[in-house]
Symmetry: C4
Subunit: 232 residues, 4 copies
């Protein structure tokens, strides 16, 4: 009974994915962490959304070990565990194979920052991690995917609190945030920005990236004493 | 109580945006003006559509100052205020980040007039204002966006009563009209025309603009004694 | 009361357009003819689909003159009249600005026959009529659009009973059939084939047209004693 | 009464096609086999989904002969029959003209394996069979389509239990599986993968195929003792 709250929250977050058009069948999963108990609740593997209940959620610790639950957790569970373990500020993680974001991941390109829709959420390009080395693939694949993400952030000096999303090359996106809701929100934003960026390049192959003054302005709108978006 | 009418109207207009597929989450806003009282009602910032009520609407004057309302108005409020102040014939304004129109804005190109779907609504290309100068961005950004729009119309000798829409470079579209409803209608038309124009260039990169005789004909269909579309 | 049947039929056909995703707002119209009475029922101009009733339909003769109805008929009425007058086998006509078909019309290209989805309905490319001569545009525009269509069929030796659709260059598609329902069906088929053809060229710019043996086979499947599709 | 079970199953499978957005009007069909009785239940030709009932399903043997049913079976029935006859492990077959898969078929290209969405389902490119020879087209067309598929698998040493889908050049996709449900599932996966592959090439015309280590990993995830996706 002690995990009821994160199970319910993880359930609600997972159910948003089909409503937002981000998943076909079971191609996605959301997890929600309870930092005090050092566990997270995650969708079981291969259970369809119309049969899912809060009680189906599996409780897993930050080493990827199942703590509670009758079903096998999502096959991506170890990736979630690694991110929770190393990034303390993360409270929720979403993984989808949404169409446009996945196409960018498959094309192995960062998504350039072309406009304010992008800049309202992050002020750098959306990073795409290179496909994993062969020995990592042959090893503990999903576990290594977590490190692939963290290493990319470290190598490119990105801050996971500023950039709450990544494309895993040849695979698909992961997004996160302080809460499960925020991680789902970020997946939807990413899909929209990914579509707009492709269309922008099709309309004008020489479209310039957003200029620095605008990037700076949008960063300031969200941060510091002068932030003025939303009601908080 | 004196603003009940425009609050209700602004609410109804805002609720059309998700129904027309023009917004994700809260990425859009509509305002409706009361010219006699020199104010407009606008969506509050960051409130989701499924929680919105008419009473949430914020009343703002044409200088951008809040007159009534408990919530902070849309972060784009000052842009609306500038347009109302300088363009007396405008009764409603809509701002969205609709996908295709935003992609054209990001590509910094005018949308060429390729056919009668476009010409039934305006007989010039849909203008795209260049990104703002750096000092304007660093200053009162949303306020300057209003002038960016007005200056573009003045410099290109466009009439805001004929061309009821613009793309703000690197940002997204604004549309307007005599009423809030008309401004929403124009946002939906713009999104459709933007998609058709991209597809037209993909099918035929050398597709010609609409020829002058057709542009003239469509202009006349809407204006003067011989207008014959609709029931009025 | 004598026109009740075609009014109801035209109403039902018009209501299919938004359900099939073929129209935005009022950008489309369907008419249904009563050959015995030499009239057709057509949608009134500029009335939105959610307010439309069967009684709104306007009865027009084959010269384009209103016979009965309180509202002004669709601005495309004269085009419908010309087609009914000259093509005796036509019982219903649909006009839309559906996105992909309109983009092909704007690009002024015939839609190549690339596959069996196309060949199941017609065995030639989907014709695109060139934009009208300037003097025709300046004259009785919608009336001339009818002749633009008929002339294109005559010049290219097309049979309106075999090819039940055309793109009017810079404008949008018209489709027809023995009944109103069939004309609406053809508009939906055209939109799908138009989208598939663009995608085909994007996937393979050198994609070949359907080969003659397949075109012949599909023609025979629909015609002659060996036809075997459907229940009739 | 002895075919009630496969009729009901075939009905349920057919009804999934419009729900999944895979068909316009009647452009698709699903069949479900009863291996013990050596028959399959298939959708009747040209009956719309909103009028379809389980009792409409037609029972056909593996030579393509109608065993039971008042309606004419789908015009693609002989293709289904050939596949059931030669591929013993197949329990259900789906044929659609879904937009993106059909566009790849029309472009006559295999769909390259670009990512894990693809690799989670099959670890080779999705094959596209070349258009049929003219003498086969002129003969028993739908029957020959079955052999066109089987021959392509034999010539390219593909295993129908590993690769449960094919594009028939100039035509459209066929998918299959142990059950009717699985064949429908495969049609939806194919459509999504087909769209992602086109977008991938648009974003990066030089996008590489998935590397061998990842293909091997995904193959192993589904096969052998170490398989760990889903609940089985």
């Amino acid at each position: 009974m002690i995990y009821t709250s994160i199970k319910e929250e993880a359930y609600q977050c997972n159910m948003q994915l089909p409503q937002l058009g981000l998943v076909l069948f079971t191609f996605g999963n959301v997890s929600v962490a309870d930092r005090d108990k050092a566990v997270f609740a995650i969708k079981p593997s291969g259970v369809s959304y119309d049969q899912l209940t809060p009680d189906h959620m599996v409780i897993v610790d930050f080493e990827g070990r199942v703590v509670e639950g009758k079903l096998r957790p999502s096959s991506d569970t170890k990736t979630h565990a690694v991110l929770y373990k190393h990034w303390e500020g993360v409270g929720g993680i979403t993984h989808t194979h949404s169409t446009y974001a996945t196409a960018w991941a498959q094309s192995q390109r960062d998504i350039p920052i072309f406009g304010t829709t992008h800049a309202d959420h992050l002020t750098s390009d959306i990073p795409c991690a290179a496909p994993m080395e062969d020995d990592m693939i042959a090893g503990n694949y999903e576990y290594e995917t977590g490190f692939q993400i963290i290493n990319h952030f470290n190598e490119h000096k990105l801050d996971y609190k500023e950039v709450e999303m990544i494309l895993v090359g040849n695979h698909a996106p992961f997004t996160w945030g302080k809460t499960g809701d925020k991680s789902v929100y970020n997946s939807a934003v990413l899909e929209t920005v990914a579509k707009m960026a492709l269309l922008t390049e099709q309309i004008n192959p020489k479209a310039p990236r957003l200029k620095d003054a605008l990037i700076k302005k949008h960063y300031e709108r969200k941060h510091g004493g002068a932030a003025y978006y939303g009601q908080e």
